[in-house]
C-alpha cells in the first residue's frame, strides 16, 4: 500500500522504526523487539499494525522447528527503510541544571 500523507510519528514509533532499521535485513520477533525498544505488547502491536498498514513493515511466519508453533517475524520494507532514514534526530532533552547565562 503506498504511503499516504501521515501525521508525524510518535516517539514510540520512531523508536521501533530506528530499532528495525538498525538491522534492516534481519527479521525480528515481536516480543524481542518490544524488549529491545522498551515497549510493552500493548504499545508495540498497535505500532506494528499501523506500520504494516502503511506499507512500512512486512511480516511473515517463521518456518520453525517441528513441535514448536511458528512465530511472526517483522522487518522494514524498502519504503520503511526510506522512512526510517528520513527521521530527524530527536531534539535533546533540556538539561535540568542548565542555568540561563548572561546575554552577550
Amino acid at each position: 500500500m503506498p504511503s499516504k500523507r501521515r501525521r508525524a510519528h510518535s516517539p514510540q514509533t520512531v523508536r521501533v522504526l530506528r530499532a528495525l532499521a538498525a538491522d534492516a535485513a534481519s527479521w525480528q520477533y515481536g516480543y524481542q523487539l518490544g524488549e529491545w525498544v522498551g515497549l510493552g505488547s500493548g504499545s508495540l502491536y498497535p505500532i506494528l499494525m499501523r506500520l504494516a498498514e502503511h506499507g512500512l513493515l512486512e511480516a511473515r511466519w517463521e518456518s520453525g522447528p517441528p513441535g514448536r508453533p511458528p512465530r511472526h517475524l517483522y522487518r522494514l520494507t524498502s519504503a520503511g527503510r526510506v522512512e526510517a532514514a528520513g527521521l530527524v534526530e530527536p531534539r535533546p532533552a533540556p538539561r535540568a541544571n542548565l542555568q540561563p547565562g548572561p546575554v552577550r
Binding site: 520477533y29 515481536g30 516480543y31 510493552g40 505488547s41 500493548g42 504499545s43 508495540l44 502491536y45 498497535p46 506494528l48 499494525m49 511480516a59 514448536r68 508453533p69 511458528p70 512465530r71 511472526h72
Partner: protein, 190 residues
C-alpha cells in the same frame, strides 16, 4: 453450612480439598492457561482484517517463559486488541459505569428505603447513560464493528434481563423496597 448436614459437610470438604490440591500442585499450569485464555478471548475482538495479528500474538505467547511475563504480555495484547476510538471507549466506559450503578442500586435498594429520591434519580440517569452507551456501541461502523456491536447488543440484553430479574428478587424478598428505589423497574414490572 448447617443446612448441609454432616454428610454434606464431609462431601463439601472433600471436594474443596481435591480442588485446592489441584490448584497448589499445578500453579504454573494455572498461570500459563490464564494468560493464554485471556489472550484467546481478547484477540476475538480484532476485526477480520487483523485476525492474523491475533494469531501472531498467540504464537508469540507460546515462546514467552515465566508466568508474570506471559500474563503481562497477554494483558498488553488484550489492551491492543480491544482499543477503540475515543467515542467508543467513552461509550463503553459510560455503559459499564451505568451498569455498576444500576446493579449497586438494585443490591443496596432494600437498605436505602423506598422513598430515597436521589437513588431514584441516579437510577434514571444511569439507565439513560446505559441505553445511550449501548446504542452507540451497537451502531458502530468502524473496523472493529463486529465485536463492538456484539458488546452493545449484549449490554442491551443485560439491562433488559435486569427488568425480568427484578420481579424474581421481589418474590425472594417481598417488601424489601428494591422496587421503590428503582422507578424504571417499578414501572416496567407494574
Amino acid at each position: 453450612m448447617m443446612g448441609l448436614g454432616p454428610i454434606g459437610v464431609v462431601l463439601f470438604m472433600l471436594v474443596a480439598a481435591v480442588g485446592l490440591q489441584r490448584l497448589v500442585s499445578r500453579p504454573r499450569a494455572l498461570g500459563h492457561d490464564a494468560a493464554r485464555t485471556l489472550l484467546v478471548v481478547g484477540v476475538r475482538s480484532l476485526p477480520p482484517a487483523r485476525a492474523d495479528w491475533g494469531r501472531a500474538m498467540l504464537a508469540e505467547l507460546d515462546h514467552i517463559e515465566g508466568r508474570w511475563a506471559r500474563l503481562g504480555f497477554a494483558l498488553g495484547c488484550v489492551r491492543a486488541a480491544t482499543a477503540r476510538p475515543p467515542l467508543l471507549a467513552l461509550a463503553a466506559a459510560a455503559t459499564s459505569m451505568a451498569l455498576g450503578v444500576l446493579v449497586g442500586v438494585q443490591l443496596a435498594g432494600p437498605d436505602l428505603g423506598a422513598g430515597s429520591r436521589i437513588w431514584q434519580v441516579a437510577t434514571v440517569v444511569a439507565f439513560a447513560l446505559f441505553a445511550c452507551g449501548a446504542l452507540v456501541l451497537a451502531m458502530d461502523s468502524g473496523p472493529h464493528r463486529g465485536a463492538t456491536r456484539r458488546l452493545g447488543v449484549a449490554c442491551g440484553v443485560t439491562v433488559g434481563a435486569l427488568f425480568y430479574v427484578h420481579p424474581l428478587l421481589e418474590l425472594l424478598h417481598p417488601g424489601g423496597g428494591a422496587s421503590g428505589t428503582n422507578p424504571i423497574w417499578r414501572h416496567a414490572t407494574r
